[in-house]
Amino acid sequence: MRQRFVDELGRLLDEDARVVVVLAAISVGLFDAARARHPQRVVDVGIREQSLLGVAAGLAHVGLRPVAHTFAPFLLERPFEQLKLDLCHQGLGATLVSVGASYDFPEYGTSHFCPEDVALLDTLPGIEVHVPGHPDEAATLLRHAVAGSGVGYVRLSESANSEAVPTAPGRMRILRSGELGSVIAVGPMLDPVLAAVEGMDLTVIYANTVRPWDRETVLGSLGRPAVAVVEPYQEGTSVEVINEALGHVPHRILGLGVGRRDLHRYGRRAEHDRAHGLDPASLRIALSHFFGVGEPVP
């Protein structure tokens, strides 16, 4: 997905003279070809993440369209005040593209994990959040974000679904309808969710843009007001927006995602998925229980 992002961004550099790539020592080598074609518009600020966002704001200030990219915690958490003030408060736009997701490189440990990203962005106004579940979606959503004028976040991941789901940017997609309730799978959680709900009479909705939240699609497909959301970042992140959307009707919500506990573990992604209950078997148990499906719960 990262390579696809690099290729698509290279094309955007070719097409739009306003686009500038701002890097902070991460992925610099991947942009060699783009840099050779556009030496001025691929800027590496070095390991200076406050400058990464400050410089992006300055570029936007003079009318350019910056795309800032590094590992998620160094893009959003370390320079959070630069995001809040230099971009959001100034009213300046940029596209922020992260790698690493919640624990894409488990061998690096907690310093490189960022399950908090989307919840953190929820504390600021007006940021569009895209969570592509496939390299093709990453390309489409990147293009959509760069074409906008505000602050957009594209959360790349090493995990991907086997097939891309065609969506209109900003809209969710109903993949199937059922009677017992709705489960919303975000980005790369789709394949594990589809495996988990095999044989269950549930509506399955796919989301790769989660802010703003597509309440129309969720409400339009709602039968029984029981909604589970399975997110590849911190558990419960979208429970509040769903709660707001369903405020007019008694409802139940289950938020599944990455737990808050610091596991102090390395290993492989699949092991972290299991530790957080995000593998198909664990998801099946949690969803069966919530929707009251007659599955034996051990």
Partner: protein
């Protein structure tokens, strides 16, 4: 999408013709409440601001959005009374706004907001944000092949303690951003202080450094007018003691 609220539409246009004389600054500062007017942060910057807007910056009330304008980035946003007085003197804002500085309905706060005040390039307040943004502006102007506009960024010696400045000043040096000139107003307000002088980190990174008195308007003009050929420039404006403008 980030919504930009354009409050500037509600700001009354300047009614009186701009005084545009240095001597009028005192009158304008008198409109501002005592607390703000007498702040040492404001007093130490008033001559630098006057020289910039009167002699150096190629920007005026009618060219606030001109892509070829010079940019002035007030990073040290506190004590902005002198800034507002100069903006009023130069016709960016009405002097009528000055008395209500800090009020709920006033566009003028104790830290400036670019979405509320015409001509204010950045909203500031939290220290250490201006220089990285100014560096981005200078990079952007170079990308756009605009060699004329200059970017000036005003910092305080206390503000220089923020690490973000040190990221950005080295970056500006490595990139050879000659469009960028930083002014550090040194009124010895840093709590820990700079035993080697505020210019030391800039000099180490290869900036061109000049030192002038913070109230020597002639020397300030000469220093600010000079544009280094291939590297960013630093002008240290030394204000030994907080004092009121003339």
């Amino acid at each position: 999408m980030t919504t930009v609220h354009d409050h500037t539409a509600t700001i009354p246009a300047p009614k009186m013709s701009p005084p545009a004389l240095y001597e009028d600054l005192t009158k304008l500062l008198d409109l501002i409440s005592q607390d703000q007017k007498h702040s040492s942060a404001s007093a130490s910057t008033v001559d630098v601001l006057w020289v910039l807007y009167d002699r150096i910056l190629r920007v005026g009330p009618s060219s606030c959005a001109d892509p070829d304008r010079d940019r002035f980035v007030l990073s040290k946003g506190h004590g902005p009374a002198a800034y507002y007085a100069v903006l009023a003197a130069k016709g960016f804002i009405s002097p009528d706004l000055l008395p209500a500085l800090g009020a709920f309905e006033s566009p003028l706060g104790h830290h400036p907001d670019r979405q509320l005040i015409p001509g204010v390039e950045i909203s500031s307040g939290s220290l250490g944000h201006g220089l990285p943004i100014a560096v981005g502006m200078a990079i952007g102007l170079r990308i756009q092949d605009r060699p004329e506009p200059r970017v000036f960024c005003l910092l305080g010696d206390g503000e220089l303690e923020e690490g973000s400045n040190h990221e950005a000043l080295w970056l500006a040096a490595v990139l050879g951003l000659s469009a960028l000139t930083v002014i550090v107003v040194d009124n010895r307000s840093a709590s820990v202080g700079w035993p080697a002088g505020v210019a030391a980190p800039f000099a180490a990174a290869g900036w061109e450094v000049e030192r002038v008195g913070a109230h020597d308007r002639g020397a300030l003009e000469l220093a600010l007018r000079r544009r280094p050929g291939s590297r960013p420039g630093l002008v240290v404006a030394e204000a030994a003691e907080p004092e009121m403008p003339a």
